[in-house]
Symmetry: C2
Subunit: 125 residues, 2 copies
């Protein structure tokens, strides 16, 4: 195999599902939540809200629900008052974080290259 870059499926239906899944999972907030959970480990709702600057309560709830449904995070409710809810990455979630590491690394490495390309493009008009 020594799989080169083109490791994409040859099944159009699978391609469609994969694209759909990536679209769901590569969402801006999902990415940030994954990063927060990866860095901070298991933590509660309010901690996540602080760890992801700019996110609204609504979007955090929505994002966490989707991630839970997709099996990326585990939600644990401690039946106390006031309520205490913890979130942590599942193994599946961790594996996604690892997969995204490549993209993250690329972005870090090429921030300047992209900035330069934009400057050059804009300069030409």
């Amino acid at each position: 195999m020594s799989g080169q870059i083109t490791a994409y499926s040859d099944n159009p239906e699978v391609d469609r599902l994969v694209n759909e899944l990536i679209g769901r999972v590569a969402d801006k907030w999902t990415l940030l939540v994954i990063e927060a959970l990866e860095e901070g480990g298991e933590q509660r709702f309010s901690a996540l809200a602080r760890a992801v600057p700019g996110i609204s309560q609504k979007m955090l709830t929505q994002t966490l629900r989707q991630m839970e449904r997709d099996g990326l995070v585990q939600r644990t409710v401690h039946p106390v008052v006031p309520p205490h809810v913890d979130y942590r990455l599942t193994d599946l979630g961790e594996s996604l974080a690892a997969a995204f590491c490549g993209v993250w690394h690329w972005a870090e490495q090429n921030l300047q290259a992209v900035a330069a390309a934009r400057a050059a493009y804009d300069a030409r008009g």
Copy 2:
């Protein structure tokens, strides 16, 4: 380096820029265009329109412009009538395609796991 998962920058400003860049680049159409160019090599506008099913002319143009500005694709205009324009991935674009390969692979590998997680979640209500 045998870099572990947490390779994220410790600089918040860089984090912000990286997130922004990923948000831009992880766009649904961008992903599909990258895949099409990766698989089909250099090709013209109309070929891409066929290679990316469901994309509108507007979105294809918009996506290609952004990718060009970000230095991901090179646009070559052949001054003939009728017009003939070719698009190809730059080295930067190829490197991004390679980086996304991990996510693509993850999605392929875990389609079923996600589907199962969803089914379980929905079953519980």
